[in-house]
């Protein structure tokens, strides 16, 4: 028989839970911590002073609360002092940011994606941001978001179809470049990480069943079921862009035919609106804009894509019965311009019981979601064992 958890394990668990709450809210009063964690008031006091001693959080007297009684101290994440680096490698652009505990973006750099190796520009972004940091601040690692298939165990990018990547160990490469600064570098899929960010501090805070459909050039989904991320056995799950919706459809870059991506991806929208050869977010927005202004070809393209978007979402809703579907990346604009088609198709094709409570939403964190999600991943180890 296994012995119960030791006192030390319980303490580590409680410290982690407390720090995670402070991290999610940014700041929270001791009284709220007591009621949220269900721990004794004096335990909260002891745990908080442990965390304060290590500089992870700080405590201060609150401003006017307007309530009776002695106001409870406010515990605040030391965002400026405790931070990670986050990067997002998109098809067209790379972005890097310094993200403080509490999910605050403190600094950021951005450029177009170089055709070659992305590690040198990422390193110089990080070095330039690091040069502005206070000396008493501590870096707890980095997280990278990539539009590709990422192996969970070591962060190897197995395939980045639109990046032209095959077996790229981008995380390990970056860590080797900056071994003193970055204790570890974790890598995740952009849709998964966006879903994680929206679930932690965005549109999906109160939901535990979320599907975040993200489109850059290809389509992917971050799935959260029962409050947990669903990424599959190896970490490659959520590739909804490659579910076959049209067996006799167009060939897909993956070698299959009629994948969802071939009907709702950027390339499909641009081809249908007579803009073959163009690419990128600006081009997608131009089609949506033209459709709203009355360009018949663009309108037909947006309607077609909206219709097929509805087909795919109906499938996902039937399988996962989510409470929230978020359309991110360029799909945000496509959804808002074609919501009537998407909704109609969903209402027509999905089972009534599966769809009745599903909310269709756009992201609350916008383009910061991949960065904030990558930061969540990088903070994970600290939150699991704050004093470790």
């Amino acid at each position: 028989m296994r012995a119960g958890p030791s006192q030390e394990e319980i303490r580590r668990q409680n410290l982690g839970a407390l720090l995670r709450l402070v991290h999610m809210r940014g700041q929270i009063s001791r009284a709220e911590l007591t009621s949220e964690l269900g721990l004794n008031r004096s335990t909260i006091g002891a745990l908080t002073s442990d965390l304060t001693a290590t500089g992870l959080v700080s405590e201060e007297a609150p401003r006017e609360t307007g309530r009776a009684g002695r106001p409870s101290l406010v515990v605040r994440a030391s965002s400026e002092q405790v931070y990670v680096y986050a990067a997002n490698i998109g098809v067209d652009r790379i972005t890097a940011a310094r993200v403080g505990l509490g999910g605050v973006i403190l600094d950021r750099r951005e450029s177009t994606r170089p055709s070659g190796d992305v590690v040198p520009p990422l390193r110089s972004f990080i070095q330039s941001m690091e040069s502005k940091v206070d000396t008493d601040a501590r870096c707890f690692g980095a997280g990278i978001s990539v539009c590709g298939l990422v192996r969970r165990e070591d962060g190897m990018v197995r395939l980045g179809p639109h990046l032209g990547w095959l077996d790229q160990p981008v995380g390990i490469a970056l860590q080797e470049e900056l071994p003193d600064l970055l204790p570890s570098v974790v890598v995740g899929n952009v849709a998964d990480l966006s879903a994680l960010a929206e679930h932690t501090r965005g549109a999906g805070v109160d939901c535990s069943n979320i599907i975040y459909v993200y489109s850059d050039v290809g389509i992917g989904a971050g799935i959260i079921a029962g409050g947990r991320r669903v990424t599959g056995h190896g970490g490659y799950g959520g590739e909804v862009g490659h579910m076959v919706v049209h067996p006799n459809g167009r060939p897909c870059g993956c070698g299959s035919r009629g994948c969802w991506e071939t009907e709702v991806g950027e390339e499909a929208l641009l081809r249908l609106s007579g803009r073959t050869g163009q690419s990128g977010r600006e081009a997608v927005l131009a089609v949506v804009d033209a459709a709203v202004r009355g360009d018949a070809e663009a309108q037909a393209a947006v309607r077609h894509v909206g219709d097929w978007l509805g087909f795919g979402v109906a499938n996902l809703v039937n399988i996962f019965n989510p409470e929230l579907v978020i359309f991110g990346g360029t799909l945000r604009d496509v959804y808002l311009a074609a919501a009537a088609q998407v909704r109609s198709r969903l209402n027509h094709n999905a089972l009534a019981a599966c769809r009745e409570h599903v909310r269709l939403r756009t992201p609350q964190l916008g383009d910061d979601a991949p960065l904030l999600g990558a930061a969540e991943l990088a903070f994970e180890q600290l939150l699991a064992d704050p004093l470790g």
Partner: protein, 261 residues
């Protein structure tokens, strides 16, 4: 609050509203329900009575007969002040903002806060900034900007923030995305959705079916002064809503042939 939570009485319920202008019978026995935490889209062809209905709710027009219930309690609304007192605010299509005043002055116009004899500018400024921040509005740089310097989308945002400022519970928006570009339409739609997600009841008047489906939980279709149907957005298709607007019925939904005269 979850949409479709039917246990609590609806925030606003109109029963059997009639309104005539002389010989013209504009609203005929209209029933209309609005729930907190939901966006209810009010759709209908030109002249169907959308604006008249909204003006009846806002106390601009008196109704000939029918009942208004708020939180299940019968109330009498005799003017815009009664409506405001009940937490009802309307944002009209022309926004009714003063170009020569700044954002704070506009938001508090006619209802300025005072401390003693003078205006309490710091308090108003703080409240205005807090309201805009609460709506996650990041596009406005300073609350002391003149409204004339704002873009169409920003003006709409200020007008909506002005309506939200007064602890309002029901905000009615008349064509908030008309005359806006794509990017600004998207921002305003997200703002409309956020109002409801924050617990307010929202009525959205729009002719754009994409806007309607993008944000609403329920759709109420008026047809020649009658309420053709009030349906959940998860139960209908675009084609059905268009039929309700243009013909007053769609299959088993809406007015039956003998009544749709």
């Amino acid at each position: 609050m979850t949409p479709g939570d039917t246990a609590a009485p609806p925030l606003l319920e109109l029963r059997g509203i009639n309104k005539s202008f002389g010989p013209v019978h504009v609203l005929r026995d209209v029933d209309f329900t609005v729930r907190a935490g939901e966006v209810t889209a009010l759709v209908g062809d030109n002249g169907a009575g959308k604006s008249t209905l909204v003006k009846c709710i806002g106390g601009i027009y008196s109704t000939d007969n029918g009942e208004t219930h708020i939180d299940g309690q019968k109330v009498n609304i005799h003017g815009p002040r009664d409506a405001a007192h009940n937490g009802i605010e309307i944002v009209y299509q022309d926004l009714a903002l003063c170009d020569n005043l700044d954002i704070v002055q506009n938001m508090f116009l006619g209802r300025e806060k005072r401390s003693g004899l003078i205006l309490d500018e710091p308090a108003m400024e703080e409240l205005a900034a807090k309201t805009l921040a609460g709506l996650s509005v990041r596009t406005v740089k300073s609350v002391r900007q003149l409204v004339s310097s704002l873009s169409g989308g920003q003006r709409q945002t200020v007008a909506i923030a002005k309506a939200v400022l007064w602890n309002s519970r029901l905000v009615i928006l008349d064509e908030p995305t008309a005359a806006l570009g794509v990017a600004q339409t998207a921002q305003v739609l997200e703002l409309v959705r956020r109002l409801a997600d924050n617990g307010l009841a929202v009525v959205l008047i729009s002719h754009n079916m994409n806007d309607v489906f993008a944000v609403s939980d329920r759709i109420a279709a008026l047809y020649l002064g009658r309420m053709a149907a009030q349906v959940r957005a998860t139960d209908v298709t675009h084609a059905q809503v268009v039929e309700l607007i243009t013909a007053g019925r769609s299959g088993s939904l809406g007015l039956q042939p003998e009544e749709a005269l």
